[in-house]
Symmetry: C2
Subunit: 574 residues, 2 copies
Amino acid sequence: MRENVVVIGAVALGPKAACRYKRLNPEGQVIMLDRGNRISYGGCGIPYYVSGDVSDADELQSTSFHMVRDVPFFRDIKAVEARTRSEALGIDRAGKTVRVKNLDTGGEYDLPYDKLVIATGSTPRRLPIPGANLPGVHTVADLDAAVAIRKGLTEGAVGKAVVVGAGFIGLEMAVALADMWGIETTVVEYAPSVLPTVLSPALAAMAQRHMEGKDVSFRLGAQVARIEGEDKARRVVVKTASGEETIEADLVILSVGVTPNSELAKAAGLEVSPRGGIVVNEAMATSDPCIFAGGDCSEIRNLVTGGSFFLPLGSLANRQGRVIGDNLAGLDSRFEGAAGAWCVKLFEQSASGVGLTLEAARRAGFDAVSILVSQFDRAHFYPDKEFMYLELVAERGTRRVLGVQGVCGQGDALVGRIGAVSALMPGKPTTRDLSVLELPYSPPFNSAMDILNVLGNVGDNVLSGRNASIDPFEFDALFDARDAGETFFLDCREGPSAEPLLKAYPGAWHNIPQGQLARRLSEVPRDKKVVLVCNSGARSYEAFVILAHAGFTNVFNVAGGMSSLTNAGVDPKL
Amino acid sequence: MRENVVVIGAVALGPKAACRYKRLNPEGQVIMLDRGNRISYGGCGIPYYVSGDVSDADELQSTSFHMVRDVPFFRDIKAVEARTRSEALGIDRAGKTVRVKNLDTGGEYDLPYDKLVIATGSTPRRLPIPGANLPGVHTVADLDAAVAIRKGLTEGAVGKAVVVGAGFIGLEMAVALADMWGIETTVVEYAPSVLPTVLSPALAAMAQRHMEGKDVSFRLGAQVARIEGEDKARRVVVKTASGEETIEADLVILSVGVTPNSELAKAAGLEVSPRGGIVVNEAMATSDPCIFAGGDCSEIRNLVTGGSFFLPLGSLANRQGRVIGDNLAGLDSRFEGAAGAWCVKLFEQSASGVGLTLEAARRAGFDAVSILVSQFDRAHFYPDKEFMYLELVAERGTRRVLGVQGVCGQGDALVGRIGAVSALMPGKPTTRDLSVLELPYSPPFNSAMDILNVLGNVGDNVLSGRNASIDPFEFDALFDARDAGETFFLDCREGPSAEPLLKAYPGAWHNIPQGQLARRLSEVPRDKKVVLVCNSGARSYEAFVILAHAGFTNVFNVAGGMSSLTNAGVDPKL
């Protein structure tokens, strides 16, 4: 069918929608507009270009086999006309035209469309503070911005850097600066922990400690008041609970979130959410059935909460782009939403998750609990193995899995587990689905009872009242208050493991190996809170069962055991 | 509730069921019987013990924190009584007793039960051939057998070995012998390819070639006729299409499958399938509601075919054990079945899969097709990356995903993908579920369009008639017959990539870069089969669309492109 399709924006979703449509309907004519010079590039690769892992910016704009996706590429290979340096100024929905400005010539013209795709992406937020626009203060806006940042690095002009924002991009940029360029890097974050929207405080502490071990500094719970400085030296002034502090920096990177580019849609009278995302239905159509939108400029349905949310990820943009391509060509494709799967590599640790954290779940109105589990990522007898920490967020009553997040040194192993949970999420899984989840099994890859099965089992036990756990920070608070004598800390490991702590905390730390507990019940006080600790949480659960059977009711396991306390940095110090 | 539970078999499912039950019902009394000395060990770890990766056999019988799971362990830690060297001779269902023989004293007694669990496992098959019981000919029956094999290795008595059977255990044993001990190892397999029940010939060829590169030899399509030899030297006589061959060996390992140990159940009148597996329902109860069975001695439901199958894996045994423990204690737990997920590490390559291969799907009556896709396992611009090969098996019409199998150097990355598909399998996914599957995304872990999304998209295109592909061996057959002139081989890559083959096969190999194809259509014959080749299959798909639009109907892509041809060893040689 001969038809004019215009696509505004040519970075991720735009090209995908354009090319899919063109393959389905070779008769169609597609014109793809972009303000920038560079199109169809992997913006998520920017931190790896800044680090130098990716040597040339062109690689982010290339196919797997090194063809640069530029205007001639789209013309010759994809039969799609791309117009760079071409800004869409407005949409005339009645006349079905887009007003386009050629940014090189200044000339304007009207481009007719039968169907229109808005793929305008998002813009990094700039903080409304003095100095946010000083030279040397960057956002990670696009590949050109990345080229400018790396230029400064290669010229050796940067000895110290401040990254504002401890989200994905902020942390990835901090890793890039500290790891590959040896730059003294400080991350400033308003929230009290890193990755605050996607990780619990306990898991966040594990990730943060690993980065600190690689010489990245953190200022958490810290607000940037202003950025000052003359010549090339910047001073970042931050306010914390303990006062004002000035951090010197040759480079400041602001990564405090992005805002959907929905002005064009709004001006055209399309429905836009209060948060600024273009509203689309499952066909990715806007409130005008001839206009589609997707990627970073739109909102999508959250499969966990049922509401809508803003999740700017290249992976989702690509999937949505194909759906739009289908629907432009008259197929009936649907994008039902997302549960919010993510992952990030931080030096030799990785973090990943899907769905809601405990805090997010409670904010969304769920009566939720979280359960932390630690286990080796492969068979415990296999030579190369690492501890994996997974946290389950589940709803009481229904036992619905609302989210799973984790941290592990073996990133692929962690991401694989989260991927399996993510695959379950559209079906609204319960802890039971995790308990019986079938995963490929062999000792080099997992345990016979995979950590996901264990997570489901522990979740099931906790939600059934057969187990009760506290997280590392809850333990820490109780242990800090140990002199009040209200909590009985019982180490369930064998004697030699418990001995150092017994000596360090006489009277406060107790030891009954779990195998002896049933016959030594009289040593456990019935009028105190009992906190059980072992290595990983498995034996303390056995101890919990024994105490519960003996009528103890105020008993708690330390989830993930000593290993999680140590990794979160809140183990009792010797 | 006071109740006697007897568990026959104490390796994997038995201990799991016993301990779960005991935790749920501490009043219950559990006696666990086993013929052997060693109990509760990870039999799947045997190849890693034989290789020396696991230094001591006790490690396979230990918890993560080095406690050996022996009789005192079960008594003290789990409050379960384990009786080793105790064979169950018979079950009196009317009297509810088990006849037990103490293998040390020879004494016999009746053990009463209220509920009984049969967890008798499986026994490796011995080939019905002369010499199968000669000294130096081993099966991988249990940990004691493994200790005997490794003893021979450490004593330096083995220079050459033959492994009969190219299934999981056979290949893992071959890796153990060749990799860690430098033993000249030959694998003999009756089927024409390795891992014949779980991998397609193309993927199997990739795995085999990798192992050959590590000095493992293969005799495929070869039947062992007899094993001969005097003293310690064995001669394995195999028959192939080309005649009889004798392979010398100091060690022969038979790994030709296992048989469920269901004699006890059968003698007690419990329902046993024609294949010998104990029949159980979703509660894992046998035809006698007081008797449960699971693990290697039973059959379970195949979630893909709907029939029952035999899948002896420690991972499933553990999950089933928990279900049995629940049901013993009066909870209502279900094990619905399995789709058959598996993985195996072969030197630096791994293979993994779930569900049916094309051959198995057709045998099960599905009108199935398979589609091979290759793509980097992470962002193509990320420094460390490897090609991953995935094969989708899907049903025509319904587009149901019947299975996915793959091969990759990054095992965790591959197993993660298969795990995500496995999580989908109970929901009977279609190719569309793969297309929109949400996975955690970041360049160090995957592409914005993950290979699973691509697999779904290509599957969708093929099943919609928008793409048609041939696998590496189909290409090989066509290319072998190239002198007949019936097939036009069209390389769609840029000139420099195609040039070596153009020179090597003048007149047979052709090159039109895909970007020029639309204006060079006249060079493509309309009366021949056209076979399109590029690097990975992506550009040849673009070429396919162009040819289809121009009215060509007899066109096929080489699935996975040159990379899959090369990896399967069937690329046109220069």
